[in-house]
């Protein structure tokens, strides 16, 4: 099985190499993307096989590749955790590649890095030593950077790519020392060696901090999330789908692998606290920003921040419960995190693909230039509705199942018995619930502005339904979203090997048959989506019958009521734009309630004085606090360092030589001092 896996990886690399000459040929991009679909399906089959075979915990087979770092060979393994994330990667990768196949990329520059991106993620997930994992991780970062920068003719894309590269470098600069600390302590890079010597004391604290910074920065956790809303719109749609659906999950995989698996099961309760806090902040911030943005892809990227935050809450709770010896609850929290990772990967991929279709068909990403697309693009609108309902965590769709499980785990936070953690868990519950509600509001706003109402521009009115293959590329993820929502129980059963890797072989998935169990013991809450679907269907049928019985007349379409506005003049064939809600208008209540304190939102009315002839103006703006607190100081630091270094260039030859001599002497003195002690 591992041999087949390495063959798939090699095939992806070959596809990337072939993509360079093929990108500019007529059918070349199709060939590459078709190959990616095949490779991703192969990954799905392998991962599902491994999960069904219950690829035992850490004792599974390890394949040593015939090459690797200078001191050894690269190791691959497919244990439960790897297989679960490989399944996620394969599913989202296949959907995104199918979409790319149906919807040929406009930029030839985005063809060759795409298989490399997929291959890097797969390598990072199946690596069995720190070096290979970091190699795959960096491959993923660089390839996705090339994809973000593919359309570099626009200044904003260049800016996004630059920031993205800096954040990727920061992640590497944190993760490499994290693995270095572990490996230096354990004396080897392979996971088996690292697991055998879990870190303690300040070493463990350092690994926690560096891992959270490095993997969290790549996953888009606050306050290192600033690259997400910039990079996602810059990349082609299928790439943004993959970045959001799979890449952030690979970063979370690294986080889970590092903190829950490699650092050993004996870490204390407080280990979960940083993850819980960071996750809750990300969830609220992302959901709130999603309500204020007026670009579809930026909005979806902010929603990704929220979901990544929720998954991190789950991981943090799992760490804390494990530290408090509450095995079943830890399994509940970890199961929620794993399930939400998969569910979010699927529905967010669907939503980004929908955004891509809308951009292609209606010519804009801005909410204020779209509208009424449900008439022009009914299939796309239907798929979008499925994805949006899942993102708004409505039952019986997939988002609800995992968020329900997560809230159950949060509500059980009081059982840790530590008063500080109990308060934190209560606050986390409130914040997670608030984030879910905010996300639902953002999704309602997205669907309403894009698909309902009237077209807002002539270009938007000329939208058309997507082609046949592209329609399938949207229908398949929509169907998967429904399916995952209806069958969370069997899915969690499939995740059992992953849970055993994270929490030890005693952990059991919080599921029984088709139902999810929200706690321990017989009297615990349970959620059975199939039953819920039946109830909902019965209720809907009853309502329909009742309506039918009360009004036996035929349905007729009348003229649309124009809300009391006067009829638009003839030169506005799509109606007066001012008589439709705008993105900023819907966002206003939340911007005033929460935005002023959390996002420094400002509103200003520019009223001309009596007698002035200029028009009055209204401006509303907000700024992400992370820019002021993290990015701006970092930029200032960079400028200061650059100015310092610039001064070195003016040194004379003798002073340059003296610098080298001084450095040599300092090193020798350090050596002498070390020997003396």
């Amino acid at each position: 099985m591992l041999t087949a896996l390495s063959l798939v990886l090699a095939a992806l690399l070959l596809l990337a190499a072939a993509g360079v000459p093929l990108a500019r040929r007529p059918g070349g991009a199709r060939l590459v993307h078709g190959g990616c679909v095949g490779a991703c399906l192969a990954l799905v089959v392998l991962a599902a096989w491994a999960l069904l075979a219950g690829a035992g915990g850490s004792a599974s087979a390890v394949l040593a590749l015939p090459f690797g770092p200078p001191w050894g060979r690269a190791l691959l393994a497919l244990d439960g955790l790897s297989a679960w994330f490989l399944l996620l990667l394969g599913v989202t990768g296949a959907m995104a590649s199918l979409y790319a196949l149906a919807h040929p990329a406009a930029q030839p520059g985005a063809v060759a890095p795409y298989p490399l991106f997929l291959g890097g993620m797969a390598l990072a997930v199946v690596a069995a030593d720190g070096f290979t994992l970091m190699f795959g991780f960096e491959l993923m970062s660089l390839a996705s950077w090339a994809l973000v920068a593919a359309d570099h003719s626009q200044a904003e894309n260049r800016r996004a790519a630059r920031l993205y590269l800096m954040m990727a470098a920061l992640s590497a600069a944190c993760l490499v020392p994290a693995f270095g600390l572990l490996a230096g302590h354990a004396g080897g890079f392979s996971f088996a060696v690292l697991r055998a010597a879990p870190p303690t004391g300040w070493l463990a604290g350092g690994v926690l901090l560096l891992g959270l910074l490095g993997a969290g920065g790549k996953a888009g956790l606050a306050p290192l999330h600033v690259w997400l809303p910039l990079a996602h719109p810059a990349a082609p749609s299928h790439v943004s789908a993959l970045m959001s659906g799979a890449m952030t999950k690979v970063a979370l995989y690294v986080l889970a692998r590092l903190l829950l698996d490699l650092c050993g099961p004996a870490q204390p309760l407080w280990w979960g606290v940083p993850l819980l806090v960071v996750g809750a902040c990300s969830a609220v911030l992302g959901a709130l920003r999603a309500n204020l943005e007026d670009d579809t892809k930026v909005l979806l990227a902010c929603s990704t921040i929220e979901n990544v935050g929720l998954i991190t809450i789950g991981l943090g709770l799992a760490l804390a419960f494990r530290g408090a010896d509450l095995g079943p609850l830890a399994a509940l929290a970890a199961g929620a995190a794993l399930l939400h990772a998969l569910n979010h990967g699927v529905f967010k991929t669907l939503l980004f693909l929908v955004a891509g279709s809308v951009l292609h068909s209606a010519g804009s990403r801005r909410l204020d230039r779209l509208g009424g697309l449900i008439h022009a693009m009914p299939v796309t609108a239907g798929c979008a509705l499925v994805g949006i309902a899942a993102a708004a965590s409505l039952p019986p769709l997939s988002g609800f199942a995992s968020e329900w499980l997560l809230l159950q785990a949060l509500l059980a936070g009081w059982r840790t018995g530590d008063i500080g953690f109990q308060v934190l868990a209560a606050a986390g519950t409130a914040l997670a619930a608030m984030a879910a509600a905010l996300a639902a509001a953002a999704m309602v706003r997205l669907f309403g502005l894009v698909f309902l109402g009237r077209p807002r521009t002539p270009r938007g009115a000329g939208a058309h339904e997507v082609g046949r293959l592209e329609r399938w590329a949207l229908l398949i993820p929509a169907g998967l979203t429904l399916l995952l929502g209806l069958l969370p129980g069997p899915l969690l059963g499939l995740a059992q090997p992953a849970l055993s890797v994270l929490l030890g072989s005693a952990a059991t998935a919080p599921a029984r048959g088709f139902a999810l169990l929200g706690g321990t013991g017989e009297a615990s809450a349970w959620y059975l989506p199939l039953a819920l679907l039946l109830v909902l269907a019965a209720a809907g049928l009853l309502v329909a019958l009742a309506v039918r019985a009360r009004s036996p007349l035929e349905t007729r379409r009348g003229p649309v009521w124009n809300c009391g506005f006067i009829n638009p003049p003839d030169y506005l064939p799509f109606g007066d734009p001012l008589s439709q809600p705008t993105a900023g208008g819907i966002a206003q209540p939340l911007r005033r309630m929460l935005g002023t304190s959390l996002l420094a939102a400002r509103e200003g009315v520019d009223m001309p004085r009596p007698g002035e002839t200029r028009a009055a103006g209204y401006t509303a703006s907000f700024a992400d606090p992370a820019f002021g607190w993290v990015v701006a100081p970092a930029a200032r630091l960079r400028d200061a360092v650059a100015a310092r270094c610039d001064r070195l260039r003016d040194f004379s030859i003798r002073r340059c030589l003296s610098l080298g001599f001084g450095a040599l002497l300092a090193l020798l003195a350090l050596l002498a001092w070390l020997e003396a002690h």
């Binding site: 003798r654 030589l657 001599f661 002497l665 020798l668 003195a669 050596l671 020997e675 003396a676």
Partner: protein, 221 residues
């Protein structure tokens, strides 16, 4: 191995170190060149002695190269340059002699402190040689940064290389190829440095490297 080979190797190495101090101490260019030639000669002797002690005939070749290149050719060429440029009377104005000597002593102490504990397992003769060689290398660097005259800086570089060769001959098993390439490298460096000195002289009418700083077009002029 008896006591005598050790003593003589130690003596030759010490002589090289002494000559390094002489280089650091001399202020007249001609005297610097003389001391450098002498150091090359001592290096050749040390290499020959190691060849005899270790029974390694290829080290005789090293000794021959060191003698011909460093004791004869390079000093003669340097002297020719000095004569052509009429630098007989020029006197260095760099870090004061006292300060240089004190820095030199400190550097030697550091070298010994570093090398002796590290090489605790090695042969005594290699240990002493390594400490002396590292001192010579560091003194060569010190000379490069305390002098302003381009010729003195070239001599500092060559003296640094002498230290490297001393270290190489002290350790048994250094391949001949490495020695030959090092020697070739030194000659190339010498040629480049010579051309460079002439160019500086032609442009600025002085061999003081401070003249270069004004012409970089970046700093305050």
């Amino acid at each position: 191995m008896g006591k005598l080979p050790y003593d003589i190797a130690h003596l030759l190495g010490g002589a090289m170190l002494l000559l390094s101090f002489v280089l650091l101490y001399q202020r007249r260019v001609q005297a610097v060149i003389n001391a450098f030639g002498l150091q090359g000669g001592v290096l050749a002797l040390a290499a020959a002695w190691q060849a005899w002690v270790q029974g390694a005939p290829e080290l005789y070749l090293t000794a021959l190269i060191a003698f011909v290149a460093k004791a004869l050719l390079i000093p003669l060429a340097l002297r020719a340059i000095v004569r052509r440029m009429n630098l007989h009377r020029s006197v260095e104005t760099a870090l004061g002699i006292g300060a240089s000597m004190m820095a030199g002593v400190a550097v030697v102490a550091l070298a010994i402190l570093v090398v002796l504990p590290i090489t605790a397992g090695a042969r005594a003769i290699a240990r002493e040689d390594l400490a002396l060689a590292l001192s010579v290398v560091l003194l060569g660097m010190l000379m490069m940064i305390t002098r302003r005259n381009a010729i003195s800086q070239v001599v500092g570089l060559m003296s640094l290389e002498n230290g490297l060769v001393l270290a190489a001959v002290g350790v048994a098993g250094m391949p001949l190829v490495v020695e030959l390439s090092t020697a070739a490298l030194v000659l190339v460096v010498f040629v480049v440095a010579g051309v460079f000195v002439f160019q500086i002289r032609e442009r600025f009418d002085s061999v003081d490297t401070a003249a270069l700083e004004r012409s970089r077009g970046e700093g305050p002029s």
